[in-house]
Amino acid sequence: MENNPTSSALTAENFINNDVAPEDVAIQKPAPVTKENRIQTIDMVRGFALCGILLMNIIGFGTDNGTLFKVANGPHNNADYITMGAIITFFDGTMRGLFSMLFGAGMILFLSGKQERPSGPRVADYYYRRLLWLVLFGVFNAFVLLWPGDILYYYGLTGMILYPFRKSAPKVLIMLGLLCFLINAGKSLWGWNETKDKRVAYLEAIAAEKAKQKLTPEQEAAKAEWPEIEKNYTFDPYYSQVNVEKTRGNYPTVFEHFMDRNVGGEIWWMYHGVWDFLGMMLLGMAFLGLGFFSNKLSTSTYVMVLLVGYIVGTTIGYVAFKGTIEYWTHPVRYIDSYRVPHQLLYDLRRLFISIGHAAFIMLVYRSKLVPWLMKGLANVGQMAFTNYLMQSIICTLFFYGYGFGYYDKLRFYQTYYVVFAIWTFQLIASTIWLRYFRFGPFEWLWRSLTYGKPQPMRIRN
């Protein structure tokens, strides 16, 4: 069977989507029930993460920073502020974290248990070819569908680092993952200290000036530099106005408007932000090895993870949310009074809440309370790639000027009605689609590109 390109093509899908339809599993090897269960839970968590990622992305799709700024500065008892608090506390970065973990886990599933064929492309060849196509899909998502928040680009590139770690022990992977987070925190602390130093130098220069001392050249420079830095921390309605105007424009206008953001984002995230993805992917590989994603742990363990994850995570999350509000409302006071940046524990918080989410899904699945919903999530997860791109297509057409032009027209909490509508649509559409096809349309395209020829897609009974 290893010599049959189609069968190896089918197994190759595993590593991001894990979308092996039951009959494929049967072709590979007689799959025990536990194996199918394992795949199901991973798909469920992935479907959950994919839906959840829209909770954060909708802000980028539909709301201008100016509106966020107004919500932060406005009354604290209205629907907008409460929604914002809940979203930032419970979800900020956690769904991306979960998605990254499953990407890492999927990589192991893809690469493990495959025999090398003596001639022709090897598993690693397919792996790297697929990732390179994923990078191009990311470019497409950012520059053609015009979604500056794309992650496929980074997943493709970061995935290329994982290969040598595929056989590492969970312990090693966890250490490496935490090391990534440490680097991230160190970098953020470094930048923070530089800003603080400049602020202190400025205040000293001002004090010296007030005391009628003659300023040294360094003091003069510090005095001149700070107002420029402060500009970056303060909200400027001008850019909001330009942003809203342009995003409501026609396609060429939006394209041009997002060009700098796309390019700058891909440069910054790939070089400075890679630890964000890499850390979670390595941890995801470790957790797969420990049986966490494959429903192998005891119920009490999952309950424990859920409680610890949510309690620790949301505590940090709430503190971070307060910091965010302070940062948005009183940036200078924020810099003067905070000793460390409020997002210093960002990755740790993400980690706790993400595994809490995953444990939550496992427990709901085990409780057999809403099997139809779990099945629906598994379907969404099986078509994760398609659904992710569909979110870009739907949201850009709904919010941008060349579509319905709702950008920054809805109240903050109202954008979540759009999220619920998209979730419902994706749950239903994925379920119907998978009744007739092995995998989603974009999965099919991606797979066909990787293997250089169109892949069979219809389910034949």
């Binding site: 090897r122 060849d125 790939m270």
Partner: protein
Amino acid sequence: MEPNHPETSPVPQPEVPPASAAPGRQLSLDVLRGAALLGGLLISVWLFGGFTTNKQYGLLSHPSGGNYRLFAAVSLLFEGKMRALIGIVFGAGIALYLGKRLHADAAKAHDYFVRRQLWLMGLGIVNGVLLLWQNDLLFHLGLMGILLLPFAQASPRALLATSLVFMLIFCGKLFWNYSDDKTALRKYNTVLAVEKKFKADSAARAKQDSLSHKAVAVATNAKDSAAKKNEAKKDTLTRKQKEDKEKWEGRLKQMKYDPKADEGSRKMMREVSYVKLWSSTLSSTQGREAAWTYRIGVWELGMSILLGLALLKLGFFENNLSRRQYLLIALAGIGIGLLCGWYRLYFQNAALLDYGKYVKTRWLPYDILVPLERLSQAIGYASLAMWLLAVSWLGWLRTSLAACGRISLTLYLLQTIVCVLFFYGIGLNNYGNLSQWQLYLFVLEFWLVQIVFSLFWLKFYPIGPAEWLWRCLVAKKWLPFKNYNEAA
């Protein structure tokens, strides 16, 4: 940069290596690597020694005199070509490395390959961020090796085609940058027209004011002044217009020689505290590793690495072509490269004299042919070297360059250490003190040092220290140093 690795499979070498080649190594690649490594120093020394872009603009603005001719010659013969040559040799190394090992144990081969590349990126970060060489190339080579892994199994034809596509994208990027300039100038001119109109308006208003002033009664004065205030407000540029204006003015400033522009970098590089120098160069080093890679590096290095892969598979480095063919490719490649280079220098002069005029009148940027220039000339050099090896001329040069090529990673890091200690303020503080020809003299002496060092080193040890360290890191164990066996 080394095509070979300790975990070599027991597969015997298909070709009989020439007598002077080390076992398990390809002499032609060692020679080319050594040549590119030494040649590249002529260009690196510009940045190390403070022969800044601005100073080069100064020469290019007045294209005459010995100093200009020296610069033009080095620029024509070396600038960017050595990087392309390193890319070609690196690409060939990838094909050689994987080709041998895939048959033995494919999973392990890929494992080792990716680990090698990751460690190379790590060494690049050490070289750039810690040793303070802002234009490090190791990081990019490591990255490109991983990115281009899916191409390693492609046919030579597909590789040549892809290399060409990369070259065209590189050209396209340069053209795109230029069209940004064109747009900036157009917007600038629009703003100028608006400003002109403002002046005319206010002149007309002033005239009207003085006429009506006597007639208007005191009672309407308040209303009048409010209206005037409004008109005056309309007469200032909007923020967008100001931004448009500043953007082009800034661009214009970049494209002009400014005698004072180098004071900042001079002060920075002559800083005596390592920590201060480190923090002031960090952003430029990281910019090179991040933004440059994204915008240019991927395409520039990609085109040459893919070409190197193709050439190795075609047997180019194993004397598969006739002497005549090598000579023809050499002449054609270098000829095309020099023509493109002449175009570049000629039009760059025009651009530096008056960039506004250049952008208004020319539809192509002066650097549009740079990708072709670099790639074509690098093939030419590679071919010339193959021809020289075939006719067995300059045997001493071959031996010297091959020795340098064998410990190229060590030498590359040594170049950084020596240049940093010689030029920067944390060392002998010669930054900006040497004139152009003195910089080349320094390079010449340093070449001799490197050649002598390499020959001596290889007399006593089979492997360079950095190469050894790199292989230990990849193998995750200490390998023998003194009795290191290349082919084992």
